[in-house]
Symmetry: C2
Amino acid sequence: MSSVIEMRHGSGTLAMQQLIEQIFLPAFDNPYLNQKNDQACFAMKAGRLAMSTDAYVIAPLFFPGGDIGSLAVHGTINDLAMAGATPLYLAASFILEEGFLITDLQRIVASMARAAKKSKVVIVTGDTKVVERGKGDGVFITTTGIGIVPDGISLSSDRAKVGDKIIVSGFVGDHGIAIMSLRHNLHFHTLIQSDSVALDDLVQAMIKAVPDIHCLRDPTRGGVATTLNELAQSSKIGMVIEEAKIPIKIAVASACELLGLDALYVANEGKLIAICAQQDAAYLLTIMQAHLLGRDAQIIGTVVSDQRCLVQLKTRFGGMRIIDSLAGELLPRIC
Amino acid sequence: MSSVIEMRHGSGTLAMQQLIEQIFLPAFDNPYLNQKNDQACFAMKAGRLAMSTDAYVIAPLFFPGGDIGSLAVHGTINDLAMAGATPLYLAASFILEEGFLITDLQRIVASMARAAKKSKVVIVTGDTKVVERGKGDGVFITTTGIGIVPDGISLSSDRAKVGDKIIVSGFVGDHGIAIMSLRHNLHFHTLIQSDSVALDDLVQAMIKAVPDIHCLRDPTRGGVATTLNELAQSSKIGMVIEEAKIPIKIAVASACELLGLDALYVANEGKLIAICAQQDAAYLLTIMQAHLLGRDAQIIGTVVSDQRCLVQLKTRFGGMRIIDSLAGELLPRIC
C-alpha cells in the first residue's frame, strides 16, 4: 500500500477496499463492520433512543491530551450522554485529503478505537471519501452515535427552573487553551492538556443518584458562557453565576491573560454543566466529586427569574456584569 | 445575515445560532430539531435497527437531476433500504468553506428537506463546522440514518447462492455520466440526468412480495461491476452476467464511448442489484417492473459456483470476459 492517501482510495476501487481492510477493520474489529455491508444491523430493545452527530475539523490534528480521533469519539459520546443516554453504536465518516499520511490515519484510527472501547461503544459502520489536495485539510471526521435513554430520565435544555442550582464538573477552558497554545507555539511552566474525555460514566453515576437532573450540556464551542446563555434562552430564565466559584487552572488563567481570552468562552471537551433542583444540588455535587471526572466540580450559580434571559456574573469584587453568548470569532476549528 | 459563510458561523457564536435558526430549522422543521439540544431523542419499538453513514463530497454541487443535498439524503436512505429497513431518522453534518454562498446553502438545505419529506424521513439532529478558504470545497455533507428492519428480513452481501438470479433495477451509469458530462462540458442530444433517487419505496414493495431476497446493494462508486465483485467475494461464489441484458441508455453508451469509460464501472445513485432464488426471480422482476423506479429492471445473470469468485461477462458476440473490481481511479468525487 502507498504511504499517502491517493484519489483512488476514495473511488470505490480495490485501493479503497485495501484501505478499509488494512486500516479500519483491524482497528475497529467487530462483527458488524466485518460483514462489509453498507450499513450495520443490530437488535434494539424498546425504549427512547438518542441520536447525535458532529463533524470534527480540528487543527492541528494531534494535540496534548488527544487527537481528532479521540475527540471525535468523546464528543459524540458526550452529546449522547447529555441526554442521559448510554451510548451504544457509532458511525464514522472520513473525508481524507489527497497526500495525507497513512501512518497519521492509522494513529487517528487507533485512537478512535481506544476511545470507543473505553466507553464500550462499537463503531459499526463507516465511510471514506477522498478530496484533491487543497480541497480538504488532512482529515475531517463525522461521528454519529445512538444510545438508549433509561426510563424516567428527561434531560432537556428547556427544563431549568427558577431556584435551580448550576454545577460545572471541573476546570474550564483547558481544551481551547491547549489548542491555542499549540497554534501560537506558547510554552507554559505547566503543560496545558486538552480535557477531551468521554463523560458517559460520570453521567450514569449522576442520573443514578439524581434521576431528576433538569439539564445537562457540555460547554464545547463558545464555552461555559455560550452554553449557559443557550440554556437560559431555551428555559426562558436568567442565571447568576459567581466568578469566585468557577474552577479555572492557574496555567489556563495565565494563558487567557496572555492571549486576551476569557476562559468562560473557551471550549471544553471533557466538562459538563448540570442544572438541578436546589434540594438535589448538594447530593449531586458529592456524587460528582466522588467520580474521577467530577472531582473538581463546583456549584457556580443559581437560576433566577428574568424575562430577558440574561446570564449575569457576580465578580470577585462584588460587581455584576452580563455574560453574553460569544458574538465574534474566537477560536476557529477548535473541534 | 451576511451573504457568505464566515469563520464565525462555525464558532458556537450568535452567528452560528442565526445560521441554524434562519437556514436549518425552518427547512427541516420538526419538533426534535426545534428543541435545539445537541442530540435528538425519540421512542423506538423493539426490533432490528439498521444504521448507515456516508460523506458526500461531490463536485460540482449542483448537477442535472439533483444536488449534493438530495444526493446526501437519497444515498443514506438507499444504504438503509438495502438492508430492507424502513428509514426513519437522519442526522446531517455540514462542513462549510469560508466564502460559501448562503443562497447556495439554502438551496441545498431545501433540496435535502424535499428529499427527506418524500421518504417520510425526519432530519432530527445536525452539526455545522466552518473551515478556512482553501481547506474545504464549498460544502461537504455527512448524513447518517437509522431505520427499522421488518421481522423476517435478512439481507446481506454474503447470502448469494449458486443458481440465484441477479437483477438490476434499471438503466446503469446515468449518475456518473451526468457528472462527467458536466465537468467536461459535454453536450449530448439528450440531456443525461443523474438517477439520484430514494429507493426505499421500491425495496418495500420488493421485500413484501419476496421476503427472502438474498442480497440487495446499490451500485454507487465503482458501478455495477465493483458491486457484483464485492457480492461475489462476500458470498464466495461466481457470477455470469449477460452484456445484452444490461440496460444502458444510448446516450450513456455514447458518452462512455467518447470518454473511454465502461458503463459497468460508472456510479449509479438510484439503482439496485437484487439477488434472489431462481424460483423467485420472475415474480420479483414483475413486482419491480410494476414500480416506477424499477420499470426497466432486467435479470442480467446467474450466480455460479466458482472458488475464484469471478464475475464473468458473456458478451454480445458470445465471448466471455472477466469483469474485475475497479482498480484505478475512474471518477473522483462522484458522490
